[in-house]
Symmetry: C2
Subunit: 663 residues, 2 copies
């Protein structure tokens, strides 16, 4: 398959043709011959109950097709191509298990969409947008029959407006991206050590003192909920409790477990500030606040966080220790279970289903109130939380493996399956696995570059949650993901623009071709390594090389594929294709932002090119060139400016192939 992809690389489609690419891949696709030619104005015939979702969805769809085809394709046709939309009912997102299935038929006479709900119609329109493409005959659609139905009902994206504030427009445009790849849950993480990002009308001191003026108003939230609903997307709010709570204590220090004054923190990590679960005032305040939020957010679920409480303030507080003894709570897990139980009652009162990170399942047997059966677990530390929740008959969703803030590859996220073939869960237990969420934690992204961390990789997560488990061809995923990345760009997501903006800022110039060549093969270091390499706070500007670089960059996949092809073939043709690709990564100017990376890249590429030249002439290693190559690889192995060469493994394979004597 890799070779097939390589052929595509070496022989791209003519500039005028545009392929279509579906992602997530539908449950069933049947290709036919022929095509439907686009003609505007579109006047779809709608057969179904009144639905603003359908009306606005068709408007968006028509506008996007027209924008893509351009004014030249508008012509003066009186009658647009026939589009028939049929659905039975308007879905209510307060019942999360909505039927999102649809059937779609395109032939040369027109388009027919059939769906049980108007959300199925939106799914069909997303597919139809992805089908729209230009070929020699102009703009149109391929003849297809599709029947489609999601594998999981919970296909989420978490956004964290706390570590770095994400204003309304940033969140709204993610909804467009989610709709395109059929994600249906926006999880808003609204309170954190670094900021209290939601307006409270009942307790305005919370956002006023906890947010530095950067928060989402209730009007913003209503707009998000409305626009999300119009796209078939639920909005689940999270208020992280009892830890990750410093910003609450800026206005309510009396509720913390240690005395003192508090400010929203500028540091990251697991901090100490935690609610005092022995103080009745804690529950009184949470009851008021969560009651207000329960009314603001229509979704049945409310997420209480519950993660990463280090317990230090509890350990150090004699009154809390005495309370634990008095209530037979042997450890902090038990005390947190007690706290969760109290929260559970509050949520119940306000008509909400409780949800939390997998720590809320850490209840010591016997010594503390058991976690109620209808609490939903979000499994992040591993898969165990998901498995043990389902074993215990609780619903669960997966986020472990989908922490897209950690800058891992799309392949890694794509192959992460909540229910892999070797899952220990039986058929009944499997029903408790609702789906999962990609989590966009925001310590190291801000409103400017957050799109570059979400897209296009979240599309790979979306496919895993929507498509049949058997759909897992990685090269094909990458081929389609790159096309979807363009679709996302076309509808207004900023992952491509934001990178170029950062490059212009860093270069102080509009001419960033050289810099982009370098950045195209670099990725931010993965995992939590950036925090080890530098002291990051909320004040650190995110305008460095590692911020402009994107995870799993296309450019590095391209160079990797060509290097591997050269290792296999060792022929002049592949070398000729590879050489300019590598050289294009060596033209970055010596800027303060990136000079050391540019130097290291030049040395690496030059060493590789020398080895290639040698390989074309001889099979024996060239000791001198290999020594030089080894030094270049050594230098490139360490992170540079919190980033790394994403194609380095391919260079290492080239070294192994060229510099290890044949056995």
């Amino acid at each position: 398959m890799r070779n097939l992809w390589l052929c595509l690389l070496l022989a791209p489609l003519p500039a005028i043709a545009q392929e279509f690419a579906l992602m997530p891949w539908p449950a069933q696709v049947e290709h036919r011959t022929g095509q439907l030619t686009f003609s505007a104005p579109l006047q779809p015939r709608v057969d179904g109950p009144a639905s603003e979702r359908t009306t606005r969805g068709l408007e968006r769809w028509s506008m996007r097709l027209a924008e893509k085809a351009g004014p030249a394709a508008m012509g003066d046709s009186r009658n647009g191509m026939p589009v028939l939309i049929r659905y039975e009912r308007v879905a209510d997102l307060r019942t999360p298990d909505v039927d999102g299935s649809y059937a779609l038929a395109i032939d040369s006479t027109g388009i027919t969409v059939q769906a049980p709900t108007d959300i199925g119609v939106l799914h069909a329109l997303a597919t139809l947008y992805q089908c729209f493409r230009r070929d020699d005959a102009g703009w149109g659609f391929p003849s297809l029959r599709i029947t489609d139905d999601p594998r999981f009902t919970w296909r989420g994206l978490l956004i964290d407006p706390c570590r770095h504030f994400m204003p309304l427009d940033v969140i709204l445009r993610q909804l467009d991206g989610m709709e395109l790849v059929k994600m249906n849950v926006l999880h808003l993480h609204l309170t954190e050590d670094q900021g209290f990002r939601i307006e409270s009308k009942l307790l305005p001191e919370l956002h006023e003192k906890g947010s530095n003026g950067q928060y989402l108003s209730q009007e913003d939230i209503r707009k998000i909920i409305r626009e999300a609903d119009l796209r078939g997307i639920r909005v689940v709010p999270e208020f992280d409790l009892p830890g990750h709570a410093t910003s609450w204590f800026a206005s309510h220090p009396e509720l913390a477990s240690a005395p003192g004054t508090y400010q929203p923190d500028t540091r990251y990590g697991v901090l100490d500030a935690v609610f005092d679960p022995t103080n009745e005032a804690t529950y009184a305040l949470l009851d008021r606040f969560l009651g207000e939020m329960a009314a603001l957010f229509p979704d049945p679920y409310l997420h209480i966080g519950g993660d990463e409480n280090n317990g230090k303030q509890w350990d150090a507080n004699p009154a809390i220790q005495a309370f634990m003894k008095a209530h037979n709570l042997p450890d902090n897990h038990a005390l947190q279970a007690y706290f969760n139980q109290r929260l559970y009652a509050i949520l119940k009162k306000h008509g909400k289903r409780m949800m939390g990170w997998d720590e809320i399942g850490d209840v010591p047997a016997g010594s503390a109130p058991a976690l109620p059966q209808d609490v939903t677990i979000q499994s992040w530390r591993g898969k165990e939380g998901l498995v043990s929740a389902a074993h215990a008959g609780r619903d669960a969703i997966l986020s472990n493996g989908w922490y897209i803030d950690l800058c891992q590859s799309a392949e890694f996220h794509y192959l992460n399956d909540p229910l892999p073939p070797d899952s220990p869960l039986n058929a009944e237990e499997r029903k408790h696995v609702l789906g999962g969420e990609a989590t966009m934690w925001a310590e190291l992204v801000d409103a400017r570059n957050v799109d570059t961390r979400i897209w296009p990789r979240a599309a790979a997560v979306a496919e895993r949650l929507w498509s049949p488990a058997s759909v897992k061809d990685v090269p094909d995923m990458y081929r389609r993901m790159e096309a979807v990345s363009k679709q996302l760009d076309a509808i207004g997501l900023r992952h491509k623009s934001a990178q170029l903006e950062l490059l212009r800022l860093m270069a102080g110039s509009d001419d960033v071709a050289g810099l982009k060549g370098l950045v195209d093969v670099m990725a931010p270091v993965q995992g939590y390594k950036r925090h080890q390499l530098a002291k990051h706070t909320t004040h650190t500007p995110l305008t460095g090389l590692a911020d402009a670089a994107v995870p799993d960059p296309e450019g590095a996949r391209r160079s990797t594929a060509l290097i591997d092809a050269f290792i296999t073939r060792r022929d002049a043709a592949t070398a000729a294709a590879l050489r300019p690709v590598l050289e294009a990564t060596t033209n970055a100017p010596a800027l303060p932002c990136c000079g050391t990376a540019a130097d290291a890249r030049k040395v690496l590429v030059n060493a590789a090119l020398a080895i290639m030249d040698h390989l074309l002439k001889s099979t024996a290693p060239d000791a001198g060139a290999c020594k030089t190559f080894q030094l270049a690889l050594d230098r490139a192995q360490s992170p540079i400016l919190e980033a790394e060469f994403a194609d380095l493994p391919a260079f290492q394979r080239l070294f192994a192939a060229a510099c290890t004597p044949a056995k």
Copy 2:
């Protein structure tokens, strides 16, 4: 001067250095030797009354400096560079004549800002951001002393969210651009034939039936007003009356001057729908609506439009004709004057000053109520409205010459002066000229590309309204405007990004270098010509060549300067500099969006290059090459896809120089 600029072109600064560029140019600038080295964290000392404007302004400023300098420049300095901010009072924008002056001193020991008001402080910070630059010694500020004070108090930008809707984020980010170039009035044109774009709580049918769901909520408006105020910017609302009013009649057809049903119109131009000024229900509704708006918008001014009433519905309505006769109103001007008089009383009651387009001054002497003295005129059809208003002792602002939607050159707008040396106004009358506004009408821009039409040209208008009249060196303006364009890009304006996004959409590819080379020398046709070349409605997608091309493009100035230099010098060195610049404009692929333009450009450039080669060898014309050149020029003379080659006049000069026999 042009030659000096050319030298700069041929010998650019080293990539590492970044020049600083002030725009608008301050009243007094005194350069000194030395510089102040940037060191973070910035902890400005503030000496003045509590002001959120100052606090947030300093936050924005500090963050932008840090973003520009990048994480590498943050270091671990305990003490940032000293910044002292002193001001006397917090300005109240409800008194428009705010003192915006400031004094600024930068030397190697620190920065001192002194201003009467916190708005003066914001102006100083804008100047300071523009001073921030990198040289061999790193990031810092040049030693300077500046004293500065605006020439006019009304420095406005009109945004039209009606023809194409401009959502909240589009409007909010323009405030950042306005702040950078010290503009201080945002004029929102909120009602039009094509849409009623503001929420009314009292009369919700207005926006519900008049907007297609696309309107600014009152919460949006409050956010705009708040963010504007934090940047020292007033917000003046316009409700266009009695014409340009179709969208009102979607919910209130009974108030139109002709019977029928109405929908927001999709067509542009001067349409017929007009309020019935003889119907008392008109005034009852306007009283309620304008009363609501008067409370929503704190600014003392309220703009009632008043332009382009074609009077056809009035002429055709016998009851209206009878009313005119009965009231001794001889013509439609008189009837509109009557209407305006009624509006004036309504605004007075709600505590607002009336403002309108210059048509409201068209009051026939004697036959109609004279326009009240305290009405402010916005002069757009020519300069006459401004002059006659000031003669009559009324305040006025200028917009004629600043219609930035017409895609004219920055030079044209720059040299447009409300009070030129030959102004017929005396000293007393001149005081009535408050300033002016750039108008961004939105028939042919949408939310995606509107930034490309506003910026950077609005900066030239801003300078005319702020700087001394004597500041009018055009090449120097262009040099600074191009730098300011980068500053605007760095702080989040989308004029550069939006163009690249459109090019990617049009090309269906991320590789748009070839297409950009072509578009860089093209501009949308000027004036109202696009409406003659094609039928534009609100449904026409704005994703064609003319939408991606920008007015007065940098690339065409560059090629023009080099062609003119070659005409003068006729030497190989200039030819060698010019050749690649021209060739870079000929690499666009044959795409449906742009193929005919790409072809015409290739033919033009090839013909010019042939002529250049000939000129280097001989002074006599080459008849064959001249014939080819003439044909290429002829072909390029007509608009192509609603755009044109902005450097065509230079090619024509080259033809004249090379193909006209010496006399």
